[in-house]
Symmetry: C2
Amino acid sequence: MRDFTADHRWLSVNTATVRQQHGQDWPLLQILDACAARGIRAVSPWRDQVQAAGLAETARTLRAHGMALSGYCRGGLFTSEGAQDDNLRALDEACTLGAPCLVLVVGGLPGALAGQPQHKNIGAARRQVTDGIHRLLEAARERGLPLAIEPLHPMYAADRACINTLSQALDVCDALDPGRSGALGVAVDLYHVWWDPLLQVQITRAGKDRLLAFHVCDWLVPTTDLLNDRGMMGDGVIDIQQARGWVEAQGFAGYSEVEIFSKANWWQRDGGEVLDTCIQRHRACV
Amino acid sequence: MRDFTADHRWLSVNTATVRQQHGQDWPLLQILDACAARGIRAVSPWRDQVQAAGLAETARTLRAHGMALSGYCRGGLFTSEGAQDDNLRALDEACTLGAPCLVLVVGGLPGALAGQPQHKNIGAARRQVTDGIHRLLEAARERGLPLAIEPLHPMYAADRACINTLSQALDVCDALDPGRSGALGVAVDLYHVWWDPLLQVQITRAGKDRLLAFHVCDWLVPTTDLLNDRGMMGDGVIDIQQARGWVEAQGFAGYSEVEIFSKANWWQRDGGEVLDTCIQRHRACV
């Protein structure tokens, strides 16, 4: 297992972690500058942030800083209208930015995210998602840009993602890419999967060629909001180091990406303070 | 599958559903009277409500109404101090009240419910829980009072119950009661397990002798609170009838128990209105 205590070369910052500070959007290019100034070598930006900053300008700034991506957030939402076209655009953006994978948040029951679920058949939604990934996979192969299915916590099954365990995500990988070509894998975000009694078993099943991304934050007790009360590493109950040991035992040697949505705490602080804390906790708790 | 549309003979009301109306505790004996007046034949009371009403008086009132129990809430919390003694008391109360089973909410990381988790080793907590159930099972056998392990939604894994899927609960049943004696089984609460892609498979695995209780409510989109924003049947996205079909295909022929914690909605209404709505939705949506 790699030693993270001495430096933060394997830290990546998901830019949603500092997307809005004190209620104001922190522009992506400024976030990139602030990361570079701290020796943070990688980020994972969100599409809306890239769109606001401009795709070409974002790519230029990344190049200027010699900064890598640990992923691109996000494609998916396969149960929504127009998903395929939008996902193709996301793939192209990911290529332009040099992302190693497109992270897929696959979508829930159609209409549910807007509070208007069109039906209650989660099995049908899951089939629709698998079909959508199948269709997108061809385009991803053509571009040489892998797709990373991110299982989301079961509390998001209705409205955000009906793939809720690593087992389920890997079943889809087995079905659509039985040859383990590297074009399809998973993003393991500990916030979503830490509770799973099969976590270690499924990480082992995934193996190096399907472990495309590793995301960390922490589960707070109590958690006061279903979406935006994620904790900084070390402030909650997830045994992050144990899980990192499991993915590294499979040969994963990529970035540890910090992704924290925290309306009441970290989004209310100065962005530089948040980044400094990410660095410190990456060394101490990841 | 039984026809619920014509009457509500298989409706049970978990008394937490009407525990506090307009911010005031509704006393248990009054709840029992209100249920009886509506032809509700079964309830599942909580220990704190029974304690406030008096155990003997509760038993007398149940007898006077000819009212059955569909369960007794709750034992468990095996990772807390003094769990065994408290669980023995719960067993005795359940016997006095004629409950068919003691529902077990097994507990999470020690101290986490109070916001002070003592460690992050959920595997150790799970072993402690299995040991606790093992110890309690002997006493349950002596009393002829089955234990029903209730898997809780993964969002409660840290602080309330580290058994989070039906698969996990049935693994414990297999380990501790391989002979399927009937002394140990599960409570299937759809709020907790509706999202599970293995739900039907695990209900089938449980079989009639391990399906000790069936709880319903609904998952709202959006859900605004992790604990107290459960929906009335029909107001959310759970396909309740499909799941009831699955348990009944195994031979389950017991009560369908309504258990709704709803701080902002149903607890703000008149208790009689809530009970009337339970009856109506039981017929239409369960």
